[in-house]
């Protein structure tokens, strides 16, 4: 129970700081809304083609907004050498990494909810047709993005160009997850039934989450201390 308690303590602490400072949420939310708004002017929101690319647009916005959130994750620990205080405390390295990922996840889900509302309004898309499937998809894909963001956020925290390095590293690794999420989102937004082929994309998301969460557990000590 103790590691779980530690995970929630780290996530709660990060979210409390974020709610007070709104450093990441304001930037990520504003970015997501601005991009969706601009694209609604660039393309005809009512056209079939725009609807077909809706999934791609949404997940690219979520991923770019995510990078703004992840950059702050471990950077928050640098002032006053808080990371040293954490690493020398009884907190285990995997708990710290998973706690950070959980905070990333909650913040990114908040950005996604705001983006979906804006998206529904400006693109005339009924995204509430299949809310539970869409929610499950968002949870699976967002966890994958969040855990990868936490792992590489920890690796790049001491780099001078971390704001630049983090997206450069994580975007290529996110390609399989993004393809799966885009395929499934397009199907759900167009209210078509999920075929066995498309369910395979769901499995890709599950496998991606399991692989990177396991890697985070196994390599947490090396990533954070070495």
């Amino acid at each position: 129970m103790r590691p779980i308690r530690q995970v929630f303590a780290v996530a709660r602490k990060d979210l409390a700081i974020e709610l007070r400072t709104k450093e990441s949420l304001n930037a990520a939310g504003a970015f997501a809304i601005a991009i969706l708004l601009l694209f609604s002017f660039a393309f005809d929101p009512d056209s079939e083609q725009t609807h077909r690319m809706a999934g791609g647009l949404l997940w690219l916005v979520f991923t770019f907004a995510g990078a703004l959130v992840f950059n702050r994750g471990f950077a928050r620990e640098l002032p006053n050498e808080c990371l040293d205080a954490l690493l020398s405390s009884p907190l285990s390295a995997p708990s710290l990494l998973i706690g950070k990922a959980l905070a990333n996840f909650v913040m990114l889900i908040a950005v996604e909810i705001v983006s979906l509302i804006v998206f529904g309004i400006f693109y005339n898309v009924q995204w509430l047709n299949r809310p539970w499937e869409l929610a499950a998809l968002c949870v699976l894909a967002t966890w994958g993005i969040a855990i990868l963001g936490a792992v590489f956020g920890a690796l790049t925290v001491n780099l001078r160009l971390r704001e630049l390095m983090l997206p450069v590293i994580i975007y290529p690794l996110l390609i399989p997850l993004l393809i799966a999420a885009i395929e499934l989102t397009n199907t759900l937004l167009s209210n078509q039934p999920l075929t066995p082929d498309q369910l395979l994309w769901g499995r890709v998301l599950v496998v991606f989450d399991i692989v990177f969460t396991s890697l985070a557990f196994a390599l947490a000590e090396t990533i954070l201390v070495n």
Binding site: A9, K13, A16, D84, A85, S88, V225
Partner: protein, 233 residues
């Protein structure tokens, strides 16, 4: 008395520069060792190695027979480094509560409040740390390090920014910790305060251990004695 901390022929390099050279020291359980030395002598590096925050190239370190990064060793460790290790955007109470929770303390709020009272920050417990003075931050950092009643305390310049009352409070905390059997290593330039609490003294110079042994009355009477007698210059 068995050794709580064992440093066995430690070599630590920053690039080509040897920050610690063949450093060997055993610290008995329940003792308080004042780590003395001039700026850049290697005191902070040594404390960071003991806290499991810095890697070293050669040698071995054991805390109660275990590596510093082991779960068991970290559970018994209280560390105060150069940074105060608390969050500016959280209140003093939220900070301590968080560190109490990750240490696995069940009554985290009660313990946090008790410590805030102890370090004289009860009145400002809900104020964000951002608004604290340097001395108040240091007192909060001390509360964080002592919070889970660790068996080993590693304190890097703990007297920094403290006024006379806070220094008395810290001295009292250190004596209490010694009485309950905690092992303490503190690095400081405030030799008089450190020697009044310490049972042992270690003098580092250019990464080498120049002197290690019990604190004597001579040192207490004349704080410059140690440097004059054992320093190479």
């Amino acid at each position: 008395m068995p050794a709580a901390i064992e440093l066995d022929h430690i070599w630590k390099f920053y690039g080509d520069y040897p920050a610690l050279r063949d450093y060997t020291l055993d610290i008995a359980a329940g003792s308080c060792c004042a780590l003395l030395g001039r700026n850049g002598a290697g005191k902070t590096t040594l404390l960071r190695i003991l806290a499991g925050l810095t890697h070293f190239q050669r040698g071995a370190v054991r805390i109660f027979g275990e590596k510093p990064r082991s779960d068991n060793a970290r559970r018994q460790l209280g560390f105060l480094g150069h940074g105060i290790g608390v969050y500016e955007d959280l209140s003093a109470r939220e900070n301590l509560r968080f560190f109490a929770e990750i240490a696995g303390l069940t009554a985290s709020l009660k313990i946090s409040d008790a410590w805030l009272d102890r370090v004289g920050l009860a009145r400002v417990r809900d104020m964000p740390v951002r608004q604290f003075s340097r001395g108040m931050r240091q007192r909060l950092a001390l509360a964080r390090a002592f919070l889970h009643t660790p068996k080993v305390l590693l304190l890097d310049e703990p007297f920094t920014s403290l006024d006379d009352r806070a220094i008395a409070m810290l001295s009292e905390l250190l004596l209490e910790s010694r009485n309950r059997g905690a092992t303490i290593i503190l690095s400081t330039h405030q030799i008089r305060e450190a020697l009044s609490i310490a049972s042992h003294v270690a003098l580092i110079e250019n990464g080498r251990l120049r002197y290690s042994g019990e604190r004597t009355q001579e040192m207490l009477d004349d704080p410059g004695f140690l440097y004059r007698t054992h320093s190479a210059g």
